[in-house]
Symmetry: C2
Subunit: 279 residues, 2 copies
Protein backbone atom coordinates (compact mmCIF):
# COMPACT_ATOMS: atom_id res chain seq x y z
CA UNK A 1 0.00 0.00 0.00
CA UNK A 2 1.57 3.25 -1.05
CA UNK A 3 1.30 6.12 1.40
CA UNK A 4 -0.79 9.17 0.58
CA UNK A 5 -2.03 7.83 -2.71
CA UNK A 6 -5.72 8.46 -3.20
CA UNK A 7 -8.00 5.95 -4.76
CA UNK A 8 -11.47 6.35 -6.16
CA UNK A 9 -14.29 4.86 -4.13
CA UNK A 10 -17.90 4.64 -5.24
CA UNK A 11 -21.12 3.50 -3.59
CA UNK A 12 -23.92 2.39 -5.88
CA UNK A 13 -27.37 3.28 -4.59
CA UNK A 14 -29.53 0.93 -6.61
CA UNK A 15 -33.16 0.02 -7.21
CA UNK A 16 -33.29 -3.72 -7.82
CA UNK A 17 -36.36 -5.43 -9.20
CA UNK A 18 -37.40 -8.28 -6.92
CA UNK A 19 -36.56 -11.67 -8.37
CA UNK A 20 -35.14 -10.32 -11.64
CA UNK A 21 -31.60 -11.52 -11.03
CA UNK A 22 -30.65 -11.37 -14.70
CA UNK A 23 -31.87 -7.78 -15.04
CA UNK A 24 -30.43 -6.66 -11.70
CA UNK A 25 -26.98 -7.99 -12.58
CA UNK A 26 -27.15 -6.31 -15.97
CA UNK A 27 -28.00 -3.02 -14.27
CA UNK A 28 -25.17 -3.53 -11.76
CA UNK A 29 -22.79 -4.17 -14.65
CA UNK A 30 -23.86 -0.91 -16.24
CA UNK A 31 -23.44 1.08 -13.02
CA UNK A 32 -20.12 -0.56 -12.12
CA UNK A 33 -18.77 0.20 -15.58
CA UNK A 34 -19.86 3.83 -15.23
CA UNK A 35 -18.27 4.11 -11.78
CA UNK A 36 -15.02 2.61 -13.05
CA UNK A 37 -15.06 4.96 -16.02
CA UNK A 38 -15.46 7.77 -13.48
CA UNK A 39 -12.29 6.72 -11.70
CA UNK A 40 -13.54 4.34 -9.03
CA UNK A 41 -11.24 1.49 -8.06
CA UNK A 42 -13.32 0.28 -5.12
CA UNK A 43 -17.05 -0.04 -5.76
CA UNK A 44 -19.64 -1.02 -3.15
CA UNK A 45 -23.13 -2.30 -3.99
CA UNK A 46 -26.06 -2.89 -1.59
CA UNK A 47 -27.15 -5.95 0.37
CA UNK A 48 -29.00 -8.59 -1.67
CA UNK A 49 -28.55 -6.42 -4.73
CA UNK A 50 -28.94 -9.22 -7.23
CA UNK A 51 -32.24 -10.60 -5.93
CA UNK A 52 -34.05 -7.88 -4.00
CA UNK A 53 -34.80 -8.10 -0.29
CA UNK A 54 -38.37 -9.03 0.61
CA UNK A 55 -38.59 -12.79 0.34
CA UNK A 56 -41.95 -14.27 1.19
CA UNK A 57 -40.89 -17.85 1.78
CA UNK A 58 -37.85 -19.94 2.37
CA UNK A 59 -38.53 -21.67 -0.94
CA UNK A 60 -38.48 -18.37 -2.80
CA UNK A 61 -35.20 -17.34 -1.15
CA UNK A 62 -33.71 -20.75 -1.89
CA UNK A 63 -34.69 -20.60 -5.54
CA UNK A 64 -33.11 -17.15 -6.00
CA UNK A 65 -29.93 -17.81 -3.99
CA UNK A 66 -26.65 -18.66 -5.69
CA UNK A 67 -23.24 -19.91 -4.81
CA UNK A 68 -20.58 -17.22 -4.64
CA UNK A 69 -19.28 -18.54 -7.96
CA UNK A 70 -22.75 -18.93 -9.41
CA UNK A 71 -23.84 -17.10 -12.56
CA UNK A 72 -24.11 -13.66 -10.90
CA UNK A 73 -20.81 -13.94 -9.05
CA UNK A 74 -19.07 -15.11 -12.20
CA UNK A 75 -20.46 -12.26 -14.29
CA UNK A 76 -19.49 -9.65 -11.70
CA UNK A 77 -16.11 -11.32 -11.21
CA UNK A 78 -15.37 -11.13 -14.90
CA UNK A 79 -16.31 -7.47 -14.89
CA UNK A 80 -14.03 -6.76 -11.90
CA UNK A 81 -11.20 -8.49 -13.74
CA UNK A 82 -11.86 -6.66 -17.01
CA UNK A 83 -12.14 -3.26 -15.33
CA UNK A 84 -9.35 -3.83 -12.78
CA UNK A 85 -11.60 -2.87 -9.88
CA UNK A 86 -12.50 -4.17 -6.43
CA UNK A 87 -16.19 -4.84 -5.98
CA UNK A 88 -18.17 -5.49 -2.81
CA UNK A 89 -21.74 -6.66 -3.29
CA UNK A 90 -24.40 -8.37 -1.24
CA UNK A 91 -26.16 -11.51 -2.42
CA UNK A 92 -28.30 -14.40 -1.23
CA UNK A 93 -25.76 -17.18 -0.87
CA UNK A 94 -26.65 -20.83 -1.18
CA UNK A 95 -24.19 -23.25 0.38
CA UNK A 96 -25.60 -26.75 0.21
CA UNK A 97 -29.00 -26.55 1.89
CA UNK A 98 -28.10 -23.42 3.79
CA UNK A 99 -28.73 -19.82 2.86
CA UNK A 100 -26.75 -16.82 4.04
CA UNK A 101 -27.20 -13.08 3.64
CA UNK A 102 -23.70 -12.63 2.28
CA UNK A 103 -21.26 -10.17 0.83
CA UNK A 104 -18.36 -10.87 -1.47
CA UNK A 105 -15.21 -8.95 -2.32
CA UNK A 106 -14.13 -9.50 -5.91
CA UNK A 107 -10.93 -8.09 -7.37
CA UNK A 108 -9.03 -8.23 -10.62
CA UNK A 109 -7.45 -11.38 -9.25
CA UNK A 110 -10.81 -13.08 -8.61
CA UNK A 111 -12.74 -13.83 -5.42
CA UNK A 112 -10.88 -12.31 -2.48
CA UNK A 113 -13.30 -13.27 0.25
CA UNK A 114 -16.80 -13.57 1.62
CA UNK A 115 -18.67 -12.26 4.63
CA UNK A 116 -21.91 -13.64 6.03
CA UNK A 117 -24.20 -11.26 7.93
CA UNK A 118 -23.81 -11.95 11.63
CA UNK A 119 -26.89 -10.14 12.91
CA UNK A 120 -30.05 -11.04 11.04
CA UNK A 121 -32.84 -8.49 10.88
CA UNK A 122 -36.49 -9.36 11.35
CA UNK A 123 -37.81 -12.03 8.97
CA UNK A 124 -34.36 -12.72 7.58
CA UNK A 125 -34.25 -15.21 10.44
CA UNK A 126 -36.87 -17.22 8.54
CA UNK A 127 -34.71 -17.64 5.46
CA UNK A 128 -31.05 -17.28 6.36
CA UNK A 129 -28.57 -18.86 8.73
CA UNK A 130 -26.68 -16.50 11.03
CA UNK A 131 -23.22 -15.74 9.66
CA UNK A 132 -20.49 -18.18 10.54
CA UNK A 133 -17.37 -16.49 9.17
CA UNK A 134 -16.73 -13.92 11.89
CA UNK A 135 -15.56 -10.49 10.69
CA UNK A 136 -12.75 -11.28 8.29
CA UNK A 137 -10.41 -8.55 7.11
CA UNK A 138 -9.20 -8.98 3.56
CA UNK A 139 -5.78 -7.88 2.39
CA UNK A 140 -5.68 -6.21 -1.00
CA UNK A 141 -3.04 -4.22 -2.86
CA UNK A 142 -4.97 -1.08 -1.85
CA UNK A 143 -5.22 -1.78 1.88
CA UNK A 144 -7.29 -3.88 4.23
CA UNK A 145 -11.02 -4.19 3.76
CA UNK A 146 -13.80 -5.58 5.97
CA UNK A 147 -17.44 -6.15 5.03
CA UNK A 148 -20.52 -5.63 7.16
CA UNK A 149 -24.18 -5.91 6.21
CA UNK A 150 -27.02 -3.60 7.33
CA UNK A 151 -28.14 -4.43 10.90
CA UNK A 152 -24.57 -5.47 11.75
CA UNK A 153 -23.65 -1.79 12.17
CA UNK A 154 -25.98 -1.54 15.17
CA UNK A 155 -23.42 -3.67 17.01
CA UNK A 156 -20.30 -1.74 17.96
CA UNK A 157 -18.53 -5.04 18.50
CA UNK A 158 -18.25 -5.78 14.79
CA UNK A 159 -16.76 -2.35 14.06
CA UNK A 160 -14.18 -3.17 16.70
CA UNK A 161 -13.48 -6.59 15.26
CA UNK A 162 -12.89 -4.99 11.86
CA UNK A 163 -10.61 -2.31 13.27
CA UNK A 164 -8.71 -4.68 15.55
CA UNK A 165 -8.28 -6.95 12.56
CA UNK A 166 -6.55 -4.08 10.80
CA UNK A 167 -9.30 -2.84 8.48
CA UNK A 168 -8.63 0.47 6.78
CA UNK A 169 -12.02 0.49 5.07
CA UNK A 170 -15.33 -1.02 6.19
CA UNK A 171 -17.72 -1.61 3.30
CA UNK A 172 -21.36 -1.80 4.36
CA UNK A 173 -23.73 -3.39 1.90
CA UNK A 174 -27.12 -2.52 3.26
CA UNK A 175 -30.89 -2.39 2.80
CA UNK A 176 -31.69 0.15 5.51
CA UNK A 177 -35.38 0.56 6.19
CA UNK A 178 -37.19 3.27 8.16
CA UNK A 179 -36.91 2.72 11.91
CA UNK A 180 -39.19 3.67 14.73
CA UNK A 181 -38.40 6.98 16.37
CA UNK A 182 -36.35 8.47 13.52
CA UNK A 183 -36.53 12.28 13.56
CA UNK A 184 -37.35 13.89 10.23
CA UNK A 185 -35.01 16.81 10.85
CA UNK A 186 -32.03 14.63 11.72
CA UNK A 187 -29.84 12.36 9.58
CA UNK A 188 -30.92 8.73 9.60
CA UNK A 189 -29.61 6.93 12.66
CA UNK A 190 -27.94 4.51 10.25
CA UNK A 191 -25.79 7.38 8.97
CA UNK A 192 -24.86 8.38 12.52
CA UNK A 193 -23.86 4.79 13.25
CA UNK A 194 -21.52 4.90 10.25
CA UNK A 195 -20.07 8.19 11.48
CA UNK A 196 -19.40 7.11 15.05
CA UNK A 197 -18.32 3.65 13.88
CA UNK A 198 -15.71 5.33 11.66
CA UNK A 199 -14.67 7.78 14.36
CA UNK A 200 -14.41 5.34 17.25
CA UNK A 201 -12.41 2.90 15.18
CA UNK A 202 -10.49 5.11 12.81
CA UNK A 203 -11.73 3.49 9.62
CA UNK A 204 -13.09 4.65 6.30
CA UNK A 205 -16.70 3.62 5.79
CA UNK A 206 -18.50 3.10 2.49
CA UNK A 207 -22.16 2.21 2.91
CA UNK A 208 -24.29 1.46 -0.14
CA UNK A 209 -28.04 1.30 0.39
CA UNK A 210 -30.89 0.70 -2.02
CA UNK A 211 -33.97 2.82 -2.64
CA UNK A 212 -37.55 2.17 -3.64
CA UNK A 213 -40.45 0.21 -2.22
CA UNK A 214 -40.55 -3.56 -2.58
CA UNK A 215 -43.64 -5.59 -1.68
CA UNK A 216 -44.71 -2.71 0.55
CA UNK A 217 -41.34 -2.29 2.27
CA UNK A 218 -39.71 1.12 1.74
CA UNK A 219 -35.94 1.61 1.80
CA UNK A 220 -34.29 4.85 2.86
CA UNK A 221 -31.34 5.36 0.53
CA UNK A 222 -28.87 7.81 2.12
CA UNK A 223 -25.78 5.87 1.10
CA UNK A 224 -22.75 7.47 2.69
CA UNK A 225 -18.95 7.61 2.54
CA UNK A 226 -17.29 8.58 5.84
CA UNK A 227 -13.71 9.54 6.59
CA UNK A 228 -11.90 7.98 9.59
CA UNK A 229 -12.50 11.13 11.64
CA UNK A 230 -16.19 10.33 11.35
CA UNK A 231 -17.41 12.97 8.90
CA UNK A 232 -19.24 12.29 5.64
CA UNK A 233 -17.41 13.02 2.40
CA UNK A 234 -20.24 11.76 0.22
CA UNK A 235 -23.97 11.45 0.85
CA UNK A 236 -26.79 10.22 -1.35
CA UNK A 237 -30.45 11.13 -1.54
CA UNK A 238 -33.25 9.21 0.13
CA UNK A 239 -35.00 8.14 -3.03
CA UNK A 240 -32.89 8.21 -6.18
CA UNK A 241 -30.86 5.46 -7.77
CA UNK A 242 -27.50 7.21 -7.98
CA UNK A 243 -23.79 6.96 -7.30
CA UNK A 244 -21.69 8.72 -4.68
CA UNK A 245 -17.95 9.00 -4.90
CA UNK A 246 -14.92 9.94 -2.91
CA UNK A 247 -11.19 9.86 -3.33
CA UNK A 248 -9.70 8.29 -0.26
CA UNK A 249 -6.29 7.57 1.24
CA UNK A 250 -6.58 4.26 3.04
CA UNK A 251 -3.38 4.84 5.01
CA UNK A 252 -5.04 7.85 6.68
CA UNK A 253 -7.07 5.36 8.70
CA UNK A 254 -4.00 4.03 10.42
CA UNK A 255 -2.49 7.46 11.07
CA UNK A 256 -5.71 8.88 12.44
CA UNK A 257 -5.97 6.47 15.35
CA UNK A 258 -3.13 8.16 17.18
CA UNK A 259 -4.26 11.25 19.08
CA UNK A 260 -1.35 13.24 20.42
CA UNK A 261 1.38 11.98 22.70
CA UNK A 262 -0.78 10.02 25.08
CA UNK A 263 -3.74 8.60 23.23
CA UNK A 264 -4.52 6.00 20.60
CA UNK A 265 -8.07 4.90 19.86
CA UNK A 266 -7.26 1.21 19.92
CA UNK A 267 -4.36 1.05 22.35
CA UNK A 268 -6.26 2.98 25.03
CA UNK A 269 -8.79 0.18 25.23
CA UNK A 270 -9.16 -1.37 28.69
CA UNK A 271 -9.43 -5.01 27.73
CA UNK A 272 -8.78 -5.81 31.37
CA UNK A 273 -12.29 -4.61 32.21
CA UNK A 274 -14.21 -5.47 29.02
CA UNK A 275 -14.69 -9.16 29.78
CA UNK A 276 -18.44 -9.09 30.27
CA UNK A 277 -18.90 -8.05 26.65
CA UNK A 278 -18.23 -11.60 25.56
CA UNK A 279 -19.36 -13.43 28.70
CA UNK B 1 -39.27 1.48 39.88
CA UNK B 2 -42.77 2.38 38.86
CA UNK B 3 -43.67 2.02 35.21
CA UNK B 4 -44.37 5.05 33.07
CA UNK B 5 -43.64 7.52 35.83
CA UNK B 6 -41.58 10.45 34.62
CA UNK B 7 -38.83 11.99 36.66
CA UNK B 8 -37.04 15.27 36.26
CA UNK B 9 -33.46 15.13 35.01
CA UNK B 10 -31.12 18.08 34.79
CA UNK B 11 -27.60 18.56 33.45
CA UNK B 12 -25.62 21.48 34.87
CA UNK B 13 -23.33 23.13 32.33
CA UNK B 14 -20.94 24.97 34.61
CA UNK B 15 -17.97 27.32 34.49
CA UNK B 16 -15.70 26.37 37.37
CA UNK B 17 -12.84 28.59 38.50
CA UNK B 18 -9.60 26.63 38.56
CA UNK B 19 -8.51 25.79 42.09
CA UNK B 20 -11.38 27.62 43.82
CA UNK B 21 -12.93 24.49 45.30
CA UNK B 22 -14.84 26.42 47.96
CA UNK B 23 -16.34 28.78 45.41
CA UNK B 24 -17.05 26.06 42.86
CA UNK B 25 -18.92 23.96 45.40
CA UNK B 26 -20.91 26.99 46.51
CA UNK B 27 -21.89 27.64 42.89
CA UNK B 28 -22.78 23.98 42.42
CA UNK B 29 -24.97 24.16 45.53
CA UNK B 30 -26.75 27.16 44.07
CA UNK B 31 -27.33 25.49 40.71
CA UNK B 32 -28.36 22.16 42.22
CA UNK B 33 -30.88 23.91 44.44
CA UNK B 34 -32.30 25.75 41.44
CA UNK B 35 -32.53 22.53 39.43
CA UNK B 36 -34.28 20.75 42.30
CA UNK B 37 -36.67 23.67 42.70
CA UNK B 38 -37.38 23.29 38.98
CA UNK B 39 -38.41 19.67 39.48
CA UNK B 40 -35.20 17.78 38.89
CA UNK B 41 -34.70 14.55 40.85
CA UNK B 42 -31.55 13.44 39.04
CA UNK B 43 -28.90 16.10 38.54
CA UNK B 44 -25.64 15.63 36.65
CA UNK B 45 -22.62 17.90 37.00
CA UNK B 46 -19.43 17.92 34.89
CA UNK B 47 -16.11 16.14 35.28
CA UNK B 48 -13.74 17.66 37.86
CA UNK B 49 -16.38 20.25 38.59
CA UNK B 50 -15.09 21.12 42.03
CA UNK B 51 -11.48 21.80 41.05
CA UNK B 52 -11.33 22.69 37.38
CA UNK B 53 -9.51 20.59 34.80
CA UNK B 54 -6.13 21.90 33.70
CA UNK B 55 -3.68 20.76 36.34
CA UNK B 56 -0.08 21.73 35.72
CA UNK B 57 1.63 19.32 38.06
CA UNK B 58 0.97 16.18 40.00
CA UNK B 59 1.55 18.19 43.20
CA UNK B 60 -1.15 20.66 42.25
CA UNK B 61 -3.63 17.89 41.47
CA UNK B 62 -2.77 16.13 44.71
CA UNK B 63 -3.29 19.28 46.76
CA UNK B 64 -6.73 19.90 45.24
CA UNK B 65 -7.94 16.29 45.32
CA UNK B 66 -10.27 15.03 48.07
CA UNK B 67 -11.61 11.78 49.35
CA UNK B 68 -15.16 11.02 48.25
CA UNK B 69 -16.27 11.92 51.76
CA UNK B 70 -14.03 14.96 51.94
CA UNK B 71 -15.37 18.46 52.49
CA UNK B 72 -16.84 18.84 48.98
CA UNK B 73 -18.44 15.41 48.95
CA UNK B 74 -19.90 15.97 52.40
CA UNK B 75 -21.38 19.33 51.45
CA UNK B 76 -22.92 17.98 48.26
CA UNK B 77 -24.12 14.88 50.10
CA UNK B 78 -25.89 16.98 52.66
CA UNK B 79 -27.54 18.96 49.91
CA UNK B 80 -28.68 15.78 48.14
CA UNK B 81 -30.16 14.57 51.39
CA UNK B 82 -31.87 17.87 52.15
CA UNK B 83 -33.30 18.21 48.64
CA UNK B 84 -34.13 14.52 48.20
CA UNK B 85 -32.25 14.35 44.90
CA UNK B 86 -29.73 12.10 43.17
CA UNK B 87 -26.54 13.89 42.18
CA UNK B 88 -23.75 12.76 39.87
CA UNK B 89 -20.62 14.89 39.89
CA UNK B 90 -17.00 14.55 38.83
CA UNK B 91 -14.13 15.26 41.19
CA UNK B 92 -10.42 14.70 41.68
CA UNK B 93 -10.35 11.77 44.08
CA UNK B 94 -7.51 11.15 46.47
CA UNK B 95 -7.23 7.61 47.80
CA UNK B 96 -4.06 7.27 49.84
CA UNK B 97 -1.26 8.38 47.54
CA UNK B 98 -3.30 7.72 44.42
CA UNK B 99 -5.43 10.13 42.45
CA UNK B 100 -8.37 9.24 40.23
CA UNK B 101 -10.53 11.22 37.86
CA UNK B 102 -13.72 10.09 39.54
CA UNK B 103 -17.46 10.47 39.63
CA UNK B 104 -19.79 9.92 42.54
CA UNK B 105 -23.50 9.23 42.80
CA UNK B 106 -25.03 10.74 45.91
CA UNK B 107 -28.63 10.24 46.95
CA UNK B 108 -30.90 11.19 49.81
CA UNK B 109 -29.59 8.03 51.47
CA UNK B 110 -25.94 9.11 51.15
CA UNK B 111 -23.12 7.89 48.91
CA UNK B 112 -24.48 5.30 46.49
CA UNK B 113 -21.31 4.65 44.56
CA UNK B 114 -18.24 5.82 42.76
CA UNK B 115 -16.82 5.48 39.28
CA UNK B 116 -13.21 6.05 38.25
CA UNK B 117 -12.50 7.13 34.68
CA UNK B 118 -11.21 4.13 32.79
CA UNK B 119 -9.77 5.90 29.76
CA UNK B 120 -7.54 8.83 30.64
CA UNK B 121 -7.23 11.66 28.16
CA UNK B 122 -3.95 13.35 27.29
CA UNK B 123 -2.05 14.77 30.29
CA UNK B 124 -4.48 13.24 32.76
CA UNK B 125 -2.09 10.30 32.54
CA UNK B 126 0.47 12.47 34.35
CA UNK B 127 -1.75 13.01 37.38
CA UNK B 128 -4.32 10.23 37.65
CA UNK B 129 -4.34 6.46 37.88
CA UNK B 130 -6.48 4.62 35.34
CA UNK B 131 -9.82 3.65 36.83
CA UNK B 132 -9.94 0.37 38.73
CA UNK B 133 -13.65 -0.03 39.47
CA UNK B 134 -14.90 -1.27 36.10
CA UNK B 135 -18.26 0.10 34.97
CA UNK B 136 -20.50 -0.36 38.00
CA UNK B 137 -24.26 -0.01 37.66
CA UNK B 138 -25.94 1.45 40.72
CA UNK B 139 -29.41 0.48 41.81
CA UNK B 140 -31.58 3.35 43.01
CA UNK B 141 -35.29 3.69 43.72
CA UNK B 142 -35.59 5.44 40.33
CA UNK B 143 -33.84 2.81 38.24
CA UNK B 144 -30.32 1.73 37.43
CA UNK B 145 -27.61 4.30 36.80
CA UNK B 146 -24.08 4.04 35.39
CA UNK B 147 -21.43 6.76 35.29
CA UNK B 148 -18.92 7.49 32.54
CA UNK B 149 -16.44 10.32 32.23
CA UNK B 150 -15.55 12.26 29.07
CA UNK B 151 -13.12 10.24 26.86
CA UNK B 152 -14.74 7.02 28.10
CA UNK B 153 -17.58 7.55 25.64
CA UNK B 154 -15.19 7.11 22.73
CA UNK B 155 -15.07 3.43 23.72
CA UNK B 156 -18.22 1.55 22.74
CA UNK B 157 -17.20 -1.19 25.14
CA UNK B 158 -18.09 0.85 28.23
CA UNK B 159 -21.53 1.69 26.87
CA UNK B 160 -22.03 -2.02 26.42
CA UNK B 161 -20.82 -2.81 29.93
CA UNK B 162 -23.28 -0.28 31.31
CA UNK B 163 -26.16 -1.65 29.28
CA UNK B 164 -25.32 -5.30 29.92
CA UNK B 165 -25.10 -4.43 33.60
CA UNK B 166 -28.69 -3.23 33.37
CA UNK B 167 -28.24 0.54 33.25
CA UNK B 168 -31.33 2.54 32.37
CA UNK B 169 -29.47 5.83 32.47
CA UNK B 170 -25.83 6.61 31.70
CA UNK B 171 -24.64 9.84 33.30
CA UNK B 172 -21.61 11.36 31.59
CA UNK B 173 -19.68 13.90 33.59
CA UNK B 174 -17.43 15.48 31.03
CA UNK B 175 -14.98 18.21 30.10
CA UNK B 176 -15.18 17.85 26.32
CA UNK B 177 -12.62 19.91 24.45
CA UNK B 178 -12.43 20.76 20.73
CA UNK B 179 -11.12 17.83 18.68
CA UNK B 180 -9.25 17.74 15.43
CA UNK B 181 -11.41 17.43 12.35
CA UNK B 182 -14.69 18.61 13.91
CA UNK B 183 -16.96 20.15 11.27
CA UNK B 184 -18.42 23.52 12.16
CA UNK B 185 -21.75 22.74 10.50
CA UNK B 186 -22.21 19.43 12.31
CA UNK B 187 -22.98 18.60 15.95
CA UNK B 188 -19.90 17.91 18.05
CA UNK B 189 -18.74 14.32 17.60
CA UNK B 190 -19.14 13.96 21.38
CA UNK B 191 -22.87 14.55 20.96
CA UNK B 192 -23.07 11.97 18.19
CA UNK B 193 -21.28 9.47 20.42
CA UNK B 194 -23.94 10.05 23.09
CA UNK B 195 -26.68 9.56 20.50
CA UNK B 196 -25.35 6.32 19.04
CA UNK B 197 -24.30 5.11 22.49
CA UNK B 198 -27.90 5.59 23.64
CA UNK B 199 -29.35 4.04 20.49
CA UNK B 200 -27.10 1.00 20.27
CA UNK B 201 -27.61 0.18 23.93
CA UNK B 202 -31.12 1.41 24.63
CA UNK B 203 -30.18 3.74 27.48
CA UNK B 204 -30.98 7.27 28.51
CA UNK B 205 -27.92 9.51 28.43
CA UNK B 206 -27.34 12.67 30.46
CA UNK B 207 -24.04 14.38 29.62
CA UNK B 208 -22.99 17.48 31.53
CA UNK B 209 -20.07 19.43 30.10
CA UNK B 210 -18.40 22.64 31.25
CA UNK B 211 -17.77 25.81 29.28
CA UNK B 212 -15.12 28.51 29.28
CA UNK B 213 -11.37 28.64 28.74
CA UNK B 214 -9.02 27.50 31.49
CA UNK B 215 -5.27 28.06 31.29
CA UNK B 216 -5.65 28.35 27.54
CA UNK B 217 -7.79 25.23 27.14
CA UNK B 218 -11.27 25.85 25.70
CA UNK B 219 -14.23 23.61 26.50
CA UNK B 220 -17.12 23.08 24.12
CA UNK B 221 -20.28 23.00 26.27
CA UNK B 222 -23.08 21.29 24.31
CA UNK B 223 -24.35 19.28 27.26
CA UNK B 224 -27.02 16.89 26.06
CA UNK B 225 -29.85 14.64 27.23
CA UNK B 226 -30.63 11.74 24.88
CA UNK B 227 -33.55 9.33 24.84
CA UNK B 228 -32.93 5.58 24.43
CA UNK B 229 -33.87 5.79 20.75
CA UNK B 230 -30.83 8.02 20.36
CA UNK B 231 -32.40 11.44 19.82
CA UNK B 232 -31.66 14.54 21.92
CA UNK B 233 -34.43 15.82 24.17
CA UNK B 234 -32.29 18.61 25.61
CA UNK B 235 -29.25 20.44 24.24
CA UNK B 236 -27.15 23.24 25.69
CA UNK B 237 -25.20 26.04 24.06
CA UNK B 238 -21.48 25.94 23.35
CA UNK B 239 -20.54 28.78 25.65
CA UNK B 240 -23.03 29.59 28.39
CA UNK B 241 -23.23 28.32 31.94
CA UNK B 242 -26.78 26.99 31.93
CA UNK B 243 -29.04 24.10 32.79
CA UNK B 244 -30.84 21.67 30.48
CA UNK B 245 -33.73 19.55 31.60
CA UNK B 246 -35.87 16.65 30.58
CA UNK B 247 -38.60 14.53 32.06
CA UNK B 248 -37.72 10.92 31.52
CA UNK B 249 -39.20 7.48 32.04
CA UNK B 250 -36.35 5.19 32.96
CA UNK B 251 -38.37 2.06 32.24
CA UNK B 252 -38.59 3.13 28.59
CA UNK B 253 -34.96 2.11 28.27
CA UNK B 254 -35.77 -1.51 28.96
CA UNK B 255 -38.82 -1.59 26.69
CA UNK B 256 -37.00 0.07 23.82
CA UNK B 257 -34.39 -2.65 23.40
CA UNK B 258 -36.92 -5.03 21.90
CA UNK B 259 -37.49 -4.42 18.18
CA UNK B 260 -40.38 -6.40 16.84
CA UNK B 261 -40.83 -10.16 16.99
CA UNK B 262 -37.32 -11.14 16.06
CA UNK B 263 -34.89 -8.56 17.35
CA UNK B 264 -33.49 -7.29 20.63
CA UNK B 265 -30.51 -4.95 20.76
CA UNK B 266 -28.73 -6.91 23.46
CA UNK B 267 -29.92 -10.45 22.84
CA UNK B 268 -28.99 -10.30 19.15
CA UNK B 269 -25.35 -9.91 20.11
CA UNK B 270 -23.04 -12.60 18.71
CA UNK B 271 -20.83 -13.15 21.73
CA UNK B 272 -19.67 -16.34 20.02
CA UNK B 273 -17.68 -14.22 17.57
CA UNK B 274 -16.76 -11.17 19.70
CA UNK B 275 -13.83 -12.79 21.52
CA UNK B 276 -11.07 -10.73 19.99
CA UNK B 277 -12.52 -7.59 21.57
CA UNK B 278 -11.07 -8.64 24.91
CA UNK B 279 -8.14 -10.73 23.68
Amino acid sequence: MSTNSKIGLSCLQTLPIFGDVEGNVAELERQISQAAAGGATIIVAPELCTTGYVFQSREEAFALAEKVDGPSGRRLGELARDLGIYLVFGFAERDGQRLYNSGALLGPEGLIGRYRKLHLWDEEALYFEPGDLGVPVFHTPLGRIALLICYDIWFPEVWRLASLGGADLVCVSTNWVPISGQKEDRPPMANLLCMTGAHQNGVWVAAANRVGVERGQPFIGRSIIVEPAGWPIGEASADRSERIEGRIDLSAARKGRSWGRFNHLLRDRRTDVYGRIVA
